[in-house]
């Protein structure tokens, strides 16, 4: 028991500083990948969500195909695609961080897009009509009237998706990105103590995701349904 704690204690700096935060001799870090992936994925998701509701078919159909395609393919597959195709297109090798970030942004944008679409559709039609009657242009209506209200309705499913993305960043370890999971593998190869090491990182992941879901529940109650 104490022995198990000792294994964790000795490797704690590597697991947390290198694996979780991403500072150290390896390219890695769960947070360093998760935060930009969430921000960029959501930004791309807004465009895709709006695109799915566009009246012009040449915007709507590609956006719909994008969503249906990425929701029907495993993330692991998308990561491998990026791993092989991005260097081919750019004609030079890309660090793991770039590959993983591209894969996550492109993949998660499909899911964020669906959330944005549902959020926009939850805003009553009358709001758009009122904004138009006041003389706002389409883009103005979207930015100043619809999106702020939609965002509020999206918060619960948005946080759920952020939690999913946070957990998914562990998959970056399969292309050698040293995140928390990969750091645990490296430590385990040295120590051969799988039980305490994997249980420990499970608890670290759990603390992050569970606190996020608690915070989401709190937000939901405070803001209330629109």
């Amino acid at each position: 028991m104490f022995d198990a704690l000792d294994v964790i204690w000795r490797n704690l700096p590597f697991l947390i500083v290198q694996g979780f935060l991403g500072f150290g001799s390896f390219v890695g870090g769960t947070l360093r990948l998760a935060i930009p992936a969430i921000v960029l994925g959501f930004l791309l998701g807004i465009f895709i969500g709006i695109g799915r509701l566009a009246p012009q078919p040449w915007i709507r159909i590609p956006a719909t195909l994008y969503v249906e395609f990425f929701r029907g393919v495993p993330l692991v597959m998308v990561i491998f695609w990026m791993w092989f195709v991005v260097p081919l297109v750019l004609k030079r090798s890309i660090p793991e961080f770039g590959v993983a970030l591209t894969a996550f942004v492109i993949f998660e944008a499909a899911y964020f897009g669906e959330i944005v679409r549902a959020g926009i559709q939850s805003v009553p039609r009358g709001q758009v009509e009122a904004a138009t009657a006041l003389g706002l242009s389409g883009a103005q209506t979207m930015r100043q009237v619809v999106l702020p209200q939609a965002l509020k309705n999206m918060i619960p499913s948005l946080v759920t998706q952020i939690i999913v993305l946070f957990k998914d960043t562990s998959l970056a370890s399969i292309i050698g990105f040293v995140d928390l999971t990969k750091a645990a593998q490296i430590v385990n190869n040295r120590e051969i103590r799988p039980f305490p090491i994997y249980l420990f990182i499970a608890v670290v992941y759990w603390m992050c995701t569970y606190s996020m879901s608690r915070y989401a529940r709190y937000l939901e109650r405070r803001i209330g349904p629109a």
Binding site: G72, F80, F84, L88, L171
Partner: protein
Amino acid sequence: MNYRFDWSILWTGESGRWLLSGLITTLELSVLAWLLAVVLGIVSGALRTVKLWPLRAAATFYVEFFRNVPLLVWMFFWYFAVPPLLPEPIREFLLEHSLEFWAAVCALGVYSGARFSEVLRSGIQSIPRTQFEASVASGLTTLQAYRYVILPVALRLIIPPGTSESLNLLKNSSVALTISVAELTFQTRQIETYTAKAIEALTAGTVIYLVLCLSLASIMGWVERRTAIPGLITGGRRRR
């Protein structure tokens, strides 16, 4: 981009056989994990709505812990950390009978079970409480009320979210390649390794996943319309 396409690698050599065996392994893994997940999901989802608090707490712990940790961590956990704890004869047996496959079934099944549980719980909670009270009043025990009144309705209500969770399970089975289960993604990578034709190999794997997911989704849409309870569920049209 000076990449020379050579699609013939997909039907020459071993590729076809590899893809087929990968597809079969993916399906076997998904079906077994799905059965485990459904059992765990129904039991824990139902337990989370009962009155007895120790049962509720145990089910809540299971759901909140297993659902909130990445599947990849569970794969490693079941593959590396659990076997040394098993008794010697069982471990020997598993080592000879594809340990990685059963570890993947456990990891995927237990993880997805926690997710199914949430789906089922929301299904049960959407049934008016009076249904349960009425069945108890007409003489059913709690177990009978769940078995004959609550669950049959709840299971129909959750077909749409249950389908999307099942498709998640199917897609998540690709994570098993990290513990070297020879499923579809693993075989796709193998073709790439042998032929150095990444785009062709990945296209084949991707198309198979897409076909699987889209056809399952449309079959379940049909099932949903067939099993809809008139008046309770508004047809099968309104899908998110």
